[in-house]
């Protein structure tokens, strides 16, 4: 299992997680109600929406993009593409920043923790770490090739 495969698999898991939260937010799954659970508090707060879309829907887009980058990067033609890898590092890095902001809102503003949001943040950090390690590994390889010439 290569890092890119792992990246694609984790992104796929995240995609389903974000899709679940999006469907919940839209009222398709479960009930739209204010209960005692913290997930409802977070999802139904005004921070549950970003630029007119549910935050979870942005998550769907994010994971779909990372999944696409991971799968394309596995293709022989793009395997050595530094541009593609850089895009993956930037996208996942942006994801980590966004997750950090959402976690701050949960802890500092909404004062409630949604376990699905925590799981998503953990997946995002893992995706960034994998992308960064792959980027570093490729940089070292490229330097070794340049030195051997």
């Amino acid at each position: 299992m290569t890092r890119r495969m792992l990246t694609a698999l984790i992104a796929l898991v995240g995609l389903f997680l974000a899709a679940y939260l999006t469907l919940y937010k839209l009222g398709v799954i479960g009930t739209l109600a204010c209960g005692t659970g913290s997930c409802e508090t977070v999802q139904l707060s005004k921070w549950g929406t970003f630029l007119g879309l549910p935050v979870a829907a942005w998550g769907v887009g994010f994971y779909a993009l990372v999944l696409t980058l991971g799968l394309v990067g596995m293709h022989e033609r793009w395997e050595g593409s530094r541009g593609l890898l850089l895009a993956q590092v930037i996208v996942t890095g942006w994801g980590v920043l966004f997750s950090g902001w959402l976690t701050y809102l949960e802890l500092g503003v909404i004062r409630a923790i949604c376990r699905y949001c925590v799981a998503s943040a953990a997946l995002t950090i893992t995706l960034f770490v994998l992308s960064w390690l792959e980027w570093r590994s490729q940089t070292i390889d490229d330097e070794a090739i340049a030195d051997s010439r």
């Binding site: 679940y20 009222g27 479960g30 109600a33 204010c34 005692t36 909404i110 390889d141």
Partner: protein, 249 residues
Amino acid sequence: MKGQSGQPRKTGQKKPVATARKSNRPFFIIVGLLLIAGITALSYMATRPKGNVSLADTTLPPVPNTGHVIGSDSAPVEVVEFADFECPACGSFATLTEPDVRKRLVATGVVRYRFMDYPLSMHRNTWSAHRAAWCAGEQGKFWEMHDALFFNQDRWSGETTSRPMGVISDIARGVGVNMDQFSSCVDSRKFDPQIRANQQEAERRQVASTPTFLIGNKKVASAISYDEFKRHVDEAVAQARPASATKTR
């Protein structure tokens, strides 16, 4: 890119196609299994019965004649809503669905509608709103205040401010209450016992979330659509109809 041996591959050097395909196979099998599992799980959750409807506890005495009521005394069905003014789902129901309920079911004499306070501890400004609604009610403006509080929920909720009374007072002024009387009423907290009693009634009936509606013999949780609301009301009307009248049809 490292090869199988861990040594760097030369630029342009590619893995043999057969080897690459073979090594990718387990990955695509896992992807396929994940796709099937994920899509199945989401489809199941989206299509299963929502579980927001349960039978009301018939061993409990009827809901006491408290709260705020709108509609005819002779309406065949009374709907009781347990709601929290700071709950977004209650706000969604109040602003999107309740106008239709009032126009098509309450004004036509089918439903008598009772609002019962259920301030949840997770909402820090909700007690201020419930007090304000009762104090507006003292001046005959409960439903105007109810509507305005829900409509302007984002202006005074705990996510926006820790001092909601400024906005709530503006809302009260907008609905036309006497402000001296209103402020004195809110400061005195004289309706807290009634609000707490309604809250205890909700807890006695094991209301787990807001909004929750008692419609006939059913307890319906969540901000349901008008169509679903009407379906429950129709069933309750059919149940309320005397058996003798049903037989003559």
